[in-house]
Symmetry: C2
Subunit: 221 residues, 2 copies
């Protein structure tokens, strides 16, 4: 039975350290996944781990990644009859640098999501199309409707993989330093340096026709 | 023979896609590693990939990571007689969102480093101490000298792993969109939305003695 509000913890989604920071809440996991767009995708090649950055998008309880049909991880996922590619997909938001009085208690405020599962090729044309639109719109909402759709040739060159959200956990560290009581009177400044990601003013392509205006969905400031 | 200026490419550090974006230049790799401080560390557990965010620091041609001696990946690395833990350590800087006229040519400007190798426990007290200082100073330069050093008990609870920089590649995508010539006259805005990471104004801990001033190394604005 599927819990509507939380993912079921498993042996590999319950951390050995700081389990109080783990969460299985679907709403939190979805929000953290939707705020990021570059993940670090891990898979095993020739018995060794490989971790590569790649874009992803979420539709409901599935994540989609894409790439050239010639790329190694996507090729490994094979076709419909294939068992798929075991992966671990991780995203991390860094929110602050936590400076404690003791070197030992220095930390980072972060919000991360780790997804374990098997990525499988998507072959259904409609699902592929929705996934590719989602990949564009996840980075810049509204953009897929304002760009030339993929041609048949481009679609044929693009592999789309789906990873269902089943074995998932979030982990969040927030707040100030957790110094030991006997360290509180030490003369070292202590607190948090906030860290955030900013989007700057869009820079038009050199060859952009000057009559093409910046679209509303990019005018955020 | 070791090349003083570049890492030797290997089968797994030559990408199948966009090889023109790959670099083996030591200076570039060092700069990219020094600019980040959170990596995504991949390893294999029970045959499946695991990717976790963690801090790291570089000293010369070695990276150091640390954690509780009770954490799973660090425990797996075992002691001195152990063969070590095969890992892939990846860092990624996102620099911009590349909006092309065609959905297909949308991209991300990024700078990434992928390190393959075997992480081994560091047992030498002096090397451990230097690595732990580097982990603090990598995030906030100058901080290790302005905090309470680790106690014997804290040191005993901390595992330090070293990953030597031998099988390493960087990958960089920069510049504007690469639209097909026949798409250049389409009426879609095209260009780059810059993305950057900012550090904000430090926030003192609630229990900080008000007489403790913000140190010079945190006064960046």
């Amino acid at each position: 039975m599927t819990d509507a509000t939380a993912y079921e913890p498993t042996g590999r989604t319950v951390p050995t350290r700081a389990p109080q920071r783990a969460s299985y809440d679907r709403g939190l996991v979805h929000a953290l996944l939707d705020e990021a767009y570059v993940c670090h995708l891990g898979f095993v090649r020739d018995g060794a781990p490989v971790v590569l950055p790649t874009l992803y998008a979420r539709i409901g309880e599935s994540l989609y990644i894409h790439g050239s049909t010639g790329s190694r991880p996507l090729r490994s996922a094979g076709g419909e009859a294939d068992p798929g590619l075991p992966v671990c997909l991780t995203i991390t938001h860094v929110d602050g640098l936590v400076l404690a009085r003791s070197a030992f208690h220095h930390s980072i405020n972060y919000r991360s999501v780790v997804v374990h599962g098997v990525a499988r090729q998507v072959t259904d044309a409609d699902e592929r199309s929705k996934a590719l639109d989602a990949l564009v719109d996840h980075v810049v909402p509204g953009r897929s409707a304002d760009s030339r759709p993929a041609s048949a040739k481009e679609l044929a060159a693009t592999a789309v993989l789906r990873l269902d959200l089943e074995e998932v956990s979030a982990k969040v560290r927030e707040g100030g330093p957790n110094d030991d009581p006997e360290d509180l009177s030490l003369p070292h400044w202590s607190g948090v340096v906030p860290v955030s990601v900013q989007r700057g003013v869009p820079v038009a392509a050199d060859d952009l026709d000057p009559s093409v205006a910046l679209p509303a969905y990019l005018r955020t400031r």
